[in-house]
Symmetry: D2
Subunit: 340 residues, 4 copies
């Protein structure tokens, strides 16, 4: 059992209050302080959690010597400065995705956290869902065989973001999921993206991620779909799976289906023989615990030295590398961009 940890939270927009609610539920955590530029957001939290102090000055929070850990839930452009300030003061840091808005900044944060000996966790929440945990397990145990492809569709009507395009908003989730699920790391990315309704940011994008083994990942993201879809196919040489994150119960289906090819002589002609296997389908029961609750508990476990960060700085850095390479591919009108 841990000593009690005192937490501060910077940023009370859309996601911040959700993190606050989960911090408040964890018995090992004391929600000590919150900060946001908007006075009324501070007041709303103060009404709900009268024991926490609130301030519109993030510096004040950062300087509080009694805090053990700081959650940063502000826009991406501010992550570097705030996270670095927290690390410099020896605080553990949980930062919303993406870790930073450039590779260089992300690398500096990883290095700084390493030197300071503090935990740096990136809030890639999907990593803590039962579905992603199960997919990771299935892929790592080679239950699917060699992985042929990963295909994700993540589309809906809005919400348009004010500061990033649809890739940074939505494909960031898939990049993190790929990092969790696959043992392999990508070597190139190629993107087709357009602005159709938006005047400032790409609102539809098709992102292809290449892997050394030939594994191909494709991610379709859009803010302009009339229907919301969160659907991922993963095909392997032995089995394949479909993850429908919007299904109320049966989110993950594993197909004992496959195809094998051989050469043969048919009617005196040498040709390819294709053999299909359509077997049973299996829908495993997966953990339904709320991902954010599990992430907060994992953060505390990491602080206590009882776990290694699943979505730590290095993982967050790899996501930023993919995001930056994607932006470069968009800039170069769909050219393939190598990841170095």
């Amino acid at each position: 059992m841990s000593r009690e940890l005192r937490f501060g939270v910077i940023g009370l927009g859309y996601w911040g209050p959700r993190i606050v609610r989960n911090l408040a539920l964890d018995p090992r955590i004391t929600l000590a302080c919150v900060a946001d530029l908007h006075q009324e957001r501070c007041e709303a939290i103060a009404r709900q959690y009268p024991y926490a102090s609130a301030t519109t000055d993030a510096e004040e929070l950062l300087d509080d010597p009694h805090l053990d850990a700081i959650v940063i839930a502000t826009p991406a452009s501010t992550h570097f400065e705030l996270a670095m300030a927290a690390i410099d003061r020896g605080k553990h840091v949980l930062v919303t995705k993406p870790l930073a808005d450039s590779v260089a900044k992300a690398e500096k944060l990883v290095a700084a956290a390493g030197s300071a000996g503090v935990v740096l966790l990136v809030d890639h929440t999907f990593a803590y869902t039962g579905a992603v945990e199960k997919m990771r397990e299935l892929v790592h145990q080679r239950f699917l065989g060699d992985i042929y492809y990963f295909d994700s569709v993540r589309v809906n009507l809005g919400l348009f973001q004010q500061d990033v395009n649809v890739i940074w908003d939505l494909a960031a989730h898939d990049f993190s999921i790929l990092d969790q699920v696959l043992p392999e790391k990508p070597n190139a990315v190629q993107v087709v993206a357009v602005q159709r309704a938006s005047r400032t940011f790409e609102d539809i994008a098709y992102v292809t991620v290449f892997y050394p083994s030939g594994m191909l990942a494709h991610v379709h993201v859009s803010w302009l779909s009339p229907v919301k879809i969160r659907s991922t196919l993963v095909g392997g040489s032995e089995r394949m799976l479909l993850w429908d994150d919007l299904a109320p119960d049966e989110k993950l289906k594993i197909y004992d289906h496959g195809v094998s090819l051989s050469e043969g002589d048919v009617e005196g002609v040498y040709q390819m023989l294709v053999d299909y296997r359509i077997g049973d389908i299996w829908i495993p029961h997966i953990d339904r615990g709320e991902a954010l609750t599990k992430e907060v508990a994992h953060f505390v476990d990491c602080i206590d030295g009882n776990a290694e960060p699943r979505t730590g700085g290095e993982s967050g850095l790899r996501v930023v590398q993919l995001l930056m390479a994607s932006s470069l591919s968009v800039e170069r009108e769909g050219e393939r961009v190598a990841l170095t």
Copy 2:
């Protein structure tokens, strides 16, 4: 009412017998002759349609002076030679997709049919489905407003084709549907395609088709999906639609949803304002007649001079142009290829 037309059919593999069945049902047509290299296929048809003659020699069929029209349902590589022979003999021609295996050959067929004054129809069957007919009508009447994008997923487990890759097999359908539905013609194509299970042909492909207006079409085709999906989204400035061709009844859903953007001043800051509209959904009743039956009837109407070919040679040529440009993009590892 037409005089009775005498038909010959060359090629009795998978699709040929389906065309034969529909010819036999049309009261304006006499199924006079069939041809296939395989004796047993000829015999199977002869048992079912004892009034039709059968031969293993296509030349014999082509030379029959009593035939008015010839259906060619053979592999793509033989289309040019057979169709040209039929046109040269003054026969009307219905040829399975694609029209030919090169742009030059397709152009020659179009020219030859024009000179000979015969009807040249390409069997792009989807054009004759109630769903595509309705989509065409909605787009042409500008019911969806400006078209933002067309996104199609056409995946399943196999069937691997022996002679073409997954783009020629499956994306050819989408290329023809785009040609039917959109008033605009594309100007470039870009493809990412891989071979994962197959040793000879690409079995997964992501095809992007660019249009002068900015309209973007994307087609995902695969022979390696554990689930069969035939799903198309079309987004417009006024309305959007979803076509699920596998839904037993409710294939086409039209969403009165939209997003509009404006600039504004919020809390003293100039910014983009996004307004979402979530309205009713409408599922129109669409014609459920069998597409192939309608196509055969349309072919007769064209021969009788009562209709203009919906999927005539020019339309088939445009599909071949997209297919060839796609193949070039695959060869060039995903480079964008202009359509001239």
Copy 3:
């Protein structure tokens, strides 16, 4: 705008805290006091709403002269005594369903509230969903024509209730929905119910409700279904509808389908001619506001004299009459029981 209303809540089990949360959100309401026999439930609420007093003695709450309205969220067997005490003290009352556990008690509560001039509202939450509001509107405007039938399936795995059978637990919802949606009142009920896994209460039941016009309502409720279903069909002479309450977006589908019959002479034989009409389907956008939030606002509107109770005492009484008649039918092994 109303003067501020001071509320007390008795019962903090499963549903009570949900009501409390909605009271706290309504700016016209002050959550003044809560009561529950369990000390720890009181403490949990006190932590969240430090401005509300908490007590394990409901009498104390009832005697508080500063309360305007009392919410009763206790087991059904206690509703009568608690609600009567509140009415006697001149308080407005919102009581969870069912209003009481006997017709006589329900009638007394209705009479007492009438005499006291207080609002008596029953928490039949479904009445305040967008789907039920829309169905009521469609039926009352005769958009469906004559109503032929109402068929509801409301099944899931558990939760077994400790104090009532599956009819009182689940069919109570349908009885209230019928009361909201149909202009007609039922005249008989017939039930087949069994105990299969439970040793104390019926866990599967099929309830048929008869109406003077011939309209037939059927409700299938079960705690023993592996899948959760909340699906209702309403058939009319002009149109029909399907309400799937678990669909994330497209909950209500209206079918312009119908069947009309006539007599005729076919091939010299007098016979019935059936004509089917399969038309468009329409999915209206429905209000997605949280039902409980709207119910609380409606309660305040009723107290302020700005609305008539939608699920008032009389409506709640009719539900109790159906529940009691259902119990009698179960007792009599499926005999039809008239409603007087």
Copy 4:
């Protein structure tokens, strides 16, 4: 391998030609003769199967000494006379459902076939589907544990039958499926049925079938539903299943879900403890062979002495008993009727 069997078919309405097509596909069968009162139906078959003779006089067919087996696909009211005539002449008989329109007639047919030593098979086609075969296997192997209930919904818009009500039309399928799947035989039936659009026959019915063990079967049939549903739940003490016959691929889902109850002492109070188990779901691959093809093959196997009839006269008789008891319950306005 069997000697070749010569078949005659009486009745070429809706179902007869489907049987004819399957007879024609079976290499052990010669389609020798067909009969129908309507000349044009005879001609249509004669065109398709020029080797078969056709007649408008069923007597002529029955008297043909060269026929081994006769298929009767006429309205139910004529089954007895025709089947008896065939049995009397020593022919094997395949008769469409129901076997006869009274229990007495069905009993006589069973007895006559027994005496004559001919095979009497009833065309309860569902018995030969992969889903029903798998359900039978699962129930007989006690994979589901004790069976708690069987719940079927079989509704659509029309087709209204000219000669029978919706129970004889649709519930007959469920009665046969129950007979196949369950080892137990029912002891009572209770029906609520109404005529809403039809003037002559019940078009909506709710049928409850009672079993000695407490197992409860419920069947909802209707010709007045805007959507077509073919959905069956079977709940057992160990596992439960859902059969959706309209699902293109995943027709049968087996849920490793359950509920167990025990008594216990909670907070000093003796009460029922409920334990839910939500486990994996399994979708077995089931045989997709066409049921009618398998049924015809099974009929030949029975004639050859290589199989015992799965849907023989006794099974067909039990279905008629349930249908007649259902009709009696309808007549008695929903009274429970014992099966003797």
